[in-house]
Symmetry: D2
């Protein structure tokens, strides 16, 4: 869907406004409709606030209807293609469109257990999670009581809405929905940045081989030209950076053992805050290295 500016939104008539924002909340254009009156919005935060306040101030019946309007996660509707485009892309981001039959079965069972207990679909902002983290959310949230779970579901709906707004509306400000993952390689053998180091980022899960997300090479400053992940939440998951340190030291003629003591240096770490900055540097010689969560 094409971008729209906040300024354009502020100047639209009611019908156009609803057409533009009606699907920020799944199958629930009444929320956009209610946000028409308080226009113009000085910034995106104000628009977001107006939309979410509409939900917060709605009665329980409407809130439950909003929740119920969401498709099951990795559910039959998704498999059969009868969900909204946004939902489809969101579920794809976590790989929920590429489940094995066994995984599909597992999600299906958890979905059923969830529906049986709460009588609503399980809603989670999937862009903020890896597949393993979603399964864990199921288990954690199945332990909630009904009131807590309804509040959690609405909160997840707000997160989904924030990400949809962020992708749809160009404004002077931005919602804080993005994290950032970066690295930096310092050659402490020479006392300067390590240039030309190949770096790969993998997602680690217990049930599949590591999945490579991105591959980059460090520049003259020892950094990759851009962040490894940016302009999106970093899905809650376990990751592994792999640095080709043996090749780097060989390329600049550093004496080394054969095979080198350090060939591939793997750094495995978990992301718990999708909207945070994760800077994971490597300080390295042919015989030692350090890493840490930096800033």
């Amino acid at each position: 869907m094409a971008h729209v500016t906040l300024d354009e939104l502020n100047r639209m008539d009611r019908q156009a406004f609803i057409a533009e924002l009606g699907d920020i909340f799944e199958h629930s254009p009444w929320i956009a409709e209610a946000a028409y009156a308080p226009r113009p919005f000085p910034d995106l935060h104000a628009l977001y606030q107006a939309l979410t306040d509409t939900v917060r101030n709605a009665d329980a019946t409407r809130q439950i209807a909003l929740i119920a309007a969401h498709p099951d996660l990795a559910g039959k509707a998704a498999r059969e293609g009868i969900i909204t485009t946004d939902s489809k892309m969101e579920q794809a981001s976590a790989g929920l469109d590429r489940l094995t039959d066994q995984e599909f079965e597992k999600f299906h069972k958890l979905n059923d257990a969830y529906r049986a207990k709460f009588n609503i679909p399980f809603i989670v902002c999937v862009r903020r999670h890896g597949k393993e983290s979603i399964l864990r959310q199921f288990e954690l949230r199945l332990a909630n009581d009904e009131a807590a779970e309804r509040a959690t579901a609405l909160n997840e709906i707000f997160r989904i809405a924030a990400l949809r707004l962020d992708q749809r509306v160009t404004a002077p400000d931005r919602l804080k929905v993005h994290g950032r993952l970066s690295t930096h390689v310092l050659d402490t053998y020479r006392g300067n940045p390590a240039a030309g180091v190949k770096v790969e980022l993998f997602e680690i899960t217990s049930f599949r081989p590591p999945r490579r997300i991105v591959c980059a090479t460090t520049n003259a400053d020892g950094r990759t030209d851009g962040p490894l992940i940016a302009d999106q939440p970093i899905p809650i998951a376990e990751y592994e950076l792999r640095f080709e340190i043996g090749a780097y030291f060989a390329s600049n003629g550093t004496p080394a053992a054969d095979p080198p003591f350090l060939g591939i240096v793997p750094i495995r770490f978990g992301v718990a805050e999708p909207e945070a900055d994760y800077h994971v540097p490597l300080l390295v010689t042919p015989w030692s290295y350090s890493t840490y969560r930096g800033s």
Copy 2:
């Protein structure tokens, strides 16, 4: 085979002596026989020296016969069980008895290329190598000329003999045929050794999933009760230590993210000197770690 002491060897008659040491060199009892005269040996080094000098001083014909007496590596003889017990155990140590058909094929081809060029079997002291390193030896040595390669083959035979002597003969001294791999975990969050950390050691190869070699738990001093590898050469290969750091910090109530920033800490390193000491410590907090080749 039962151990014998150097003292017993020194007091044996010729026949018993040859029976005891005849198979230190593959199918070549004449070498032990020649070492009977210079008895008694003050230490194991002297015996080893006498045996290897016999080979060094033999004429080319006998040297080549010695070389030719060795079985092909991972060859048909091994598959059919018609090699010496020592050879069988040695080849097993590198996993050469558990090759897939594809791997068997690869070894077979290299063996044939080697035989075609040098007209001798490929000999390598397999206890000093992982499977991948053996393949690499094939490639490196195929580039040798005949004289260099014959010297290399004899040198490998001496290494095999040293390991067989080490396993067979109890003496006041020991041949330097063993390496040692150890670790140490320091909790730099608390400033003391990290006790109760589960550590696993894997061998990493390019063609198979990591193979777990040993599993241990750190004691009150942050060390494992014994070295991870000792009393043998450390096969030339790539290894990965995995430390269960997330579980350790959770067990002593250290504040952490969920999932923790550091769950499993993998340290991947190459061993190039099978007879050396490799001490690979981990200094760790919930947010940082360092490692290095220590002593």
Copy 3:
């Protein structure tokens, strides 16, 4: 005073026994006398226990007399040479015999304040403290109430007694009255221990230039031949290790800037537990280093 073995003590008559141990407690031979009956002692801990239990079980009058029998710290008696040999050596260990007039004045005032409040001399096991720490003890303990302070004084007397016993009596066991300070230098540029590094240990105080305690050079294993401090408590104080790293890297031809980025590497640290082991290693390249409290 000459050493005596526990065995000899166990076989002494009453007079000799008291002559030997009468001065373990300052001017209070009655304590040794009371420990004569329960002989023989299986080990030094048992003897120590018997002596200290005698004090613990004595009535308040005797306990106060014991406390009162101690000289003032850095007091006039000490200046005039009329204190016991043990006290003299103990006070000298913390440099209390080399006070400037100003420092003497400060101790004198604190002593007077202490006597005015508690009516006993200030007793501290000076071998466990640097000069600055003793002054700090004065201030901390001046805040105690009388009962707490009397218990503290007795506890310090027990510590003094333990150290005197440790120096006097040879036994199969030892009292835990010693700490140990050691270091280790690893050259992470080369991946091996750093040999030939000059190391100096200083005590740091706020009122005087650093005082050099010991100077050593690392051996082939990157360690000093013996610990930097051992067989005594490590006085509670601030220390600085200085490693001549620039000279080390220059001596083995490592490329470096001029002047080198790292010339002298100072590591400053505080000791809070005189009976503990402090291992303070240095991992170093020409451009980086790490240190930590090791084990």
Copy 4:
């Protein structure tokens, strides 16, 4: 002296131009005069090039006259106040105006030895050196032959000119005459930047107590608000950063020993390249730290 823009210089008449730039080279306005013709200069590098080319292309007599026009370093002229304002400020920057009589004597002797050998004053761009480094320059350069030394003297004059131009002329570009010293403190106990850490920077010399250059406190990002040194060359010297780490960890309630294992953390390092960036971070827990030359 007031700043002038390159644009203004380009539009000046000859007399004003010479008045403005006549003292970029000590008592040698002919150099500015020669640079009048090739105006206008597109940038400061071009002006600098024109000025220094004038000197390079001058005959030996004029070059020697230029050299001879410089005052002795820390010499009588300086003491008596009869040197140019620029020279005065430059000599002051290295503390040459505050020499003890003993130091004055040492400089005087070296000056005399230098004059005796080369028959010119010793010229060095003092803003690039600490006092100790200047003495070292004397010694190194006394070993030169006359031709090498004349080239060195001219090169130093060019460095002085570059710094004077940099201070005098505002232009779209800048000459590379500045270095930058910065730090960064990361709390690897908590996994975030260490805010509120007091940092002091000292210059270390062998003949005087450390001289404090700057004091700062880290902000929320663990950095000081500005670099510790910037907009000038970093004098070639030895420095020490001191971080009040004990106070930092105490302030956020981190458990620590008393006294803390780490109170003041000193990091001593040498600067060899005055125009380079030196980033010297500290990664620290209450029990460990690392530092390195970063970027």
